[in-house]
């Protein structure tokens, strides 16, 4: 009960911070729309659905990376990790709360990105939407863990893409191929691993 309430309070905090600062989501929206527009004009007419889906997934992964880069900015700039880790709550609740907020940002960006993709390219089917929803969970789980790791490092802007992008390859493979079972399996495995590993990420060695 306490764990769920802690997680909800932390996720609410992150959503509230974004609602006030309006820094991450507008940037994500602008980025994904600009990327899809560029792809629309870059792709030759008559290109197949699979190629178009590949571009959609590229746009989604890089948009997510943009959001993840900003995810721990308040904790980094205001030293808030110190205050959070001193609290007697389970540290994985910090990861879970942040992941839920990241899923919220991704979903909000995709509410705009998916219809734009449908307009620019050859429509959109339910399987693609389901794949995107499943991918969001994996992206948030892995990306939040790596975001926290990157915050502690000096070359944090460099570190997050280096850690996250290789881990996003299976998501792109599963997304383009629309292997929903594969995406669900990725989510389950990496959510559990990230949840368990977060404690060690925030504890200074």
């Amino acid at each position: 009960m306490n764990y769920a309430a802690d997680t909800a309070a932390l996720a609410r905090k992150d959503l509230l911070l974004e609602l006030r600062a309006k820094e991450t989501l507008p940037a994500m929206l602008l980025f994904v729309l600009a990327t899809l527009t560029i792809f629309h004009f870059a792709l030759p007419r008559g290109t197949g659905d699979v190629a178009a889906r590949g571009l959609l997934w590229s746009a989604l992964v890089f948009t997510a990376l943009l959001g993840l880069t900003r995810a721990f900015v308040p904790e980094r700039e205001q030293g808030m990790f110190d205050a959070l880790v001193l609290a007697p709550c389970d540290r994985s609740a910090i990861w879970l709360g942040k992941s839920i907020a990241v899923i919220g940002f991704l979903a909000a960006a995709q509410v705009v990105a998916l219809p734009a993709f449908a307009i620019f390219f050859n429509g959109l089917d339910g399987r693609t939407v389901a794949a995107v929803a499943l991918a969001d969970v994996g992206i948030a789980a892995v990306g939040t863990l790596f975001g926290a790791m990157a915050v502690a490092g000096r070359a944090r802007e460099l570190l997050l893409p280096l850690l996250f992008l290789p881990m996003a390859v299976p998501i792109v493979v599963g997304g383009v191929g629309e292997y929903l079972w594969f995406l669900a399996l990725y989510d389950a495995i990496f959510a559990v691993l990230s949840w368990a590993a977060f404690e060690y990420v925030v504890a200074e060695a």
């Binding site: 802690d6 309070a9 905090k13 509230l16 308040p74 205001q78 205050a83 609290a87 709550c89 200074e204």
Partner: protein, 190 residues
């Protein structure tokens, strides 16, 4: 009590602390002094369990609850004082949170601005809010790094009151005059 023996800390090739010993009995007051860069903040972070020493032994009571105030007040600037303290009250499992938070805000003169964003506050008001956060869970060990920074006369008096309460306290400052009389132990770094 706080018991630390031969605490050392390195950041890469740079040694910040070398074989520091600290012993503070329950209810004691340790004053840590030293010039900039002497390792005061690093030592306080180690004592607050926010950083691990490179070598040495640190023992704190198993049930010690720690209130830590660093150079930053450690509050979210885009949230209001009420939202900040309610969040930390939740994480610290404070019973009757609303009353407790209200009482602290009143005590530190922040009740009237409880719905305003912290980003709009002066540094002194942010420091007051930082002190509210530190005291929220009535910690048995207070670790304060330059706590008088940015506080006005009234804020300083409030802090004097806190430091005279019965609990174990560690304060680092490069201007020790104000707390010197309260100190039961002293450590000069650098």
């Amino acid at each position: 009590m706080i018991f630390a023996r031969r605490i050392s800390k390195r950041f890469g090739d740079r040694r910040v602390l070398r074989d520091v010993d600290v012993e503070v009995p329950d209810g004691g007051f340790l004053l840590v002094t030293g010039p900039n860069g002497s390792g005061k903040t690093t030592l306080l972070r180690i004592l607050a369990r926010l950083a691990a020493p490179t070598s040495g032994e640190l023992r704190l009571p198993e049930r010690a609850t720690i209130g830590y105030l660093g150079h930053d007040p450690l509050v979210y600037r885009e949230l209001t004082p009420l939202e900040n303290l309610t969040l930390f009250g939740r994480l610290y499992r404070i019973p009757e949170r609303a009353e407790h938070v209200g009482m602290l805000l009143e005590r530190f003169g922040l009740w009237e601005v409880r719905h305003e964003r912290v980003a709009t506050f002066s540094r002194g008001m942010q420091q007051r809010l930082g002190l509210c956060r530190v005291l929220l869970h009535d910690p048995s060990l207070l670790v304060l790094d330059e706590p008088y920074n940015a506080l006005d006369a009234q804020g300083g008096d409030l802090l004097d009151g806190i430091l005279s309460e019965r609990r174990t306290i560690v304060v680092a400052t490069h201007d020790p005059v104000r707390v010197e009389q309260r100190a039961t132990a002293r450590l000069a770094l650098g």
